[in-house]
Symmetry: C2
Subunit: 197 residues, 2 copies
């Protein structure tokens, strides 16, 4: 089996970065060969989460075709949000929680659910595949759900997102409300400014 | 919760008819209110299968909007293969094994896998939801996989389709090779002609 790249959308938010890391980890645990990459550098919120949970940012790519024949999209499905040459490679799988605007050349695996974050869908997939989530990855997935749902306050928040946050906070051993507020603050210009003040 | 219609593509084949019946049954068992319908009358092969397993064909619709606000597509995802007014209703879920050409207005549930038939994906979903498959529905799902994979001979046939056929044949209590050949013959003009001869 040849290596596949897993990545979220351009101008990545925390869910885009983390869902790639989480899905790549899950796929590798179940016998596939994948690498999580990103279509841009992490924003300040994501950098805060990566630092907090001792993780390094995925390598940034600008094209897929020079490296692989097949890619896996997370947290997006539209070509215009994807890697520049997405039309030249096979899309072999997608995990996403957005509306769809997708054309593929071949059949593929898609897991889409109307949940608050791609990372919530991925928690389900870890459970279904009975793969344990390492504590630092759980902390990152928690961060992604907090980011997309604004600490479970956004109208896109579902009952499952609430359960997911509690489950992941337990694995990561953090108080999600305290941590979540700090993380969201790290992502605002306000926070940057007050740090400078 | 309001009723949703579940249907396969226009000019329905056996998988399009049966996958609608199977997914509707599964959804209703898990607390949703759905009705399996069809975008055309069953072909001769499908009629053979319905007769053999004592089932009646789903009612045919020509439009969705007069009846429901929300629909569920099986065995297709492209608007041009779907109900005439698909653009005027919400697509709330899709189960399919084809390449994609899909635009939606809202997030939705999608389960797509590159298996030989939509009915193979549905067998997985019954198992995941721990819902038992009635013997006659199992016989129909078996018929759909045999139809799409030409008795497990088509290049689209996967290892899981083979397992699915054996599992479903056991539940339906039929010899799938003998039954499958009869069913495929019922769908050919040759068979129609020799019956007339
Ligand atoms: Mn995102
Ligand atoms: Mn997201
Ligand atoms: Mn079909
Ligand atoms: Mn089919």
């Amino acid at each position: 089996m040849t290596k596949k790249l897993v990545f979220g959308h351009a101008n990545p938010d925390t869910d885009a970065i983390v869902a790639a890391m989480a899905y790549s980890y899950l796929l590798n645990q179940t016998g596939q060969e994948t690498e999580a990459v990103a279509l841009g550098t992490p924003n300040e919120e994501t950098q805060f989460a990566l630092r907090h949970f001792d993780a390094t940012a995925p390598r940034v790519i600008t094209a897929a075709k020079p490296e692989v024949n097949s890619v896996i999209l997370v947290d997006h499905n539209e070509a215009q949000q994807s890697v520049s040459d997405v039309a030249e490679v096979e899309i072999s799988a997608i995990v996403d929680h957005h509306k769809f605007n997708l054309t593929t050349a071949t059949p593929l695996n898609i897991r889409a659910e109307a949940l608050g974050a791609t990372s919530s869908i991925l928690l389900k997939m870890f459970n279904e595949n009975k793969v344990e989530i390492p504590a630092n990855l759980a902390g990152l997935m928690l961060s992604a759900i907090i980011s997309d749902t604004l600490l479970l306050k956004s109208p896109t928040t579902t009952e499952f997102d609430k359960i997911a946050v509690q489950t992941l906070a337990e694995i990561a051993d953090v108080d999600y409300e305290t941590y979540g507020l700090e993380m969201l603050k790290a992502g605002t210009n306000l926070a940057t400014k007050s740090e400078l003040d």
